[in-house]
Symmetry: C2
Subunit: 286 residues, 2 copies
């Protein structure tokens, strides 16, 4: 199996490291890394994340059976457009973008007959997004959503699912639209909320210095995602706009609800709201 | 020095453990623990958090030079009312409540001539709030706010500050009203936001099961504080109502701001908002 990875950051690098470890354990795949920078390719070879590399997209995917597009969201479709003429018959292309609706629709139109596209989203991440942060275990136990549609080839889907499982990921299948609402709810809208929380302090006219000095572990955790790469946030909010706005509206209703019972000084109702939240959260994280 | 600790949960227990460790290192203080339950007193003695204990408030504080009231917020004033007749001349009373305006005002009225009250708030915590979670190092490096007013005795303030420093806390002095706005901004309002975030999922009509299944580390951290004891939240929201509501209004304005630029699809403005948040947060947590 010849596998091409386009984009050698945290995700692409971790896929490479994971596949190469599988090789040690008996798999035989050749991993080709494609990056815009020679230094990144060399670093990926040095780390043992790829067998060989190139800065030439078409050359890199030429004989590949499976292609992972691990670029930032906004480059996925442009990348696909570039590689399509170079794909061999039977090649399967998957991506790792955290929004799927727009990308899957466009990708399906672009993919030539005899080649296959399967949308994917590994739900694993770190604040650091470069190759240095990559690790073979990044996907271990993490959900990796695949977003088949009516047009998706069943065999291609199963092949991608097999490799996800080899990397330690737990495959979950979901249609693109539902996926986008789900990630808006658990990831994109919470990022907006975390950023707004920090910006509330940034804009505070009174007590700002004291707030910055006394902010402890609670504020740190509640706002952790706001320290992520702003570019990734822009990608989420622009490519998943409808679902994000829908979830922000729902969040605001939920907060207004709590605000009202606080205003009323209704201890019982406040307790009920907090218990509802605690109970749902504890059911997720135990 | 005879020190009484009323309430042997996470905070009271940790104060006891910290003081007793100071004894090992050369301090000589007698630590009396006061709890409503005999078992808690025995457990605190077994853990080495107190030297002796009683369930009788007045008996416990009778000869104490320094009294820490470590009960839930709503019991601080009732507790103070009970112990006031039993305090010896020169006794200093401090508390650990996370809201200070109401409590300090009431406590100053209740404290008899010849005794002294100093409001305090150690900004250290965990999700678990019982004695089992107590540790001598809980306050190490943590901010411990003291909230003197024009009525506060300077010597009493310095004595409390000395013991806070012995426990490893960093003393920060702030008037009660400013303290309450500050904790509303970095703790109470963020709790409301975290609870509202979880309740958005709890109320989701579409994708709820998938959201619960795929919620990963980002959502976990953003909502961590929502798994705290609801009773503590009720105390925060009822005793610090005005400041909490003020900060919720400020937060909603900040979120609406971000919502607008997302709606406009304005990538530059979205980026600017996320960069502002990242930059402020990174300046706090490095």
């Amino acid at each position: 199996m010849r596998i091409a990875i386009i984009g050698l950051g945290l995700i692409g690098g971790s896929i490479g490291l994971g596949l190469k470890r599988c090789n040690v354990e008996g798999l035989t795949c050749q991993v080709i890394g494609i990056s815009r920078r020679e230094e990144t390719i060399q670093a990926a070879i040095d780390r043992g994340a790829i067998d060989e590399g190139t800065t030439d997209l078409k050359l890199g995917v030429k004989d590949a059976d499976l292609v992972f597009i691990c670029t930032p969201i906004s480059l996925i479709i442009p990348t696909l457009k570039t590689i399509v003429p170079a794909l061999k018959q039977g090649a399967i292309v998957t991506d790792v973008a955290s929004t799927k609706g727009l990308i899957v629709a466009q990708a399906e139109k672009l993919t030539p007959k005899g080649c296959f596209f399967v949308g994917g989203h590994p739900m694993a991440g770190k604040e650091k997004v470069k190759l240095e942060a990559a690790e073979a275990d990044l996907f271990k136990g993490a959900t990796w959503v695949l977003t088949p549609t009516d047009n998706t080839d069943k065999n291609a889907l199963e092949t991608v699912a097999e490799y996800v499982a080899l990397l330690g990921g737990k495959v979950m299948k979901m249609e693109p639209k539902l996926h986008d609402l789900v990630v808006a709810g658990i990831s994109h809208m919470p990022l907006a909320v975390a950023a707004a929380l920090v910006n509330t302090i940034a804009e505070a006219k009174e007590g700002q210095a004291e707030m910055k000095k006394t902010a402890a572990s609670g504020f740190r955790d509640t706002t952790r995602v706001a320290s992520g790469d702003p570019i990734l946030g822009v990608d989420m909010f622009t490519t998943n706009k409808a679902a994000v706005l829908k979830m922000i509206v729902a969040f605001k209703a939920s907060l207004s609800n709590l605000e009202k019972v606080i205003k009323d000084g209704n201890a019982e109702r406040i307790k009920a709201e907090l218990e509802k939240a605690k109970s749902l959260r504890d059911s997720i994280y135990g």
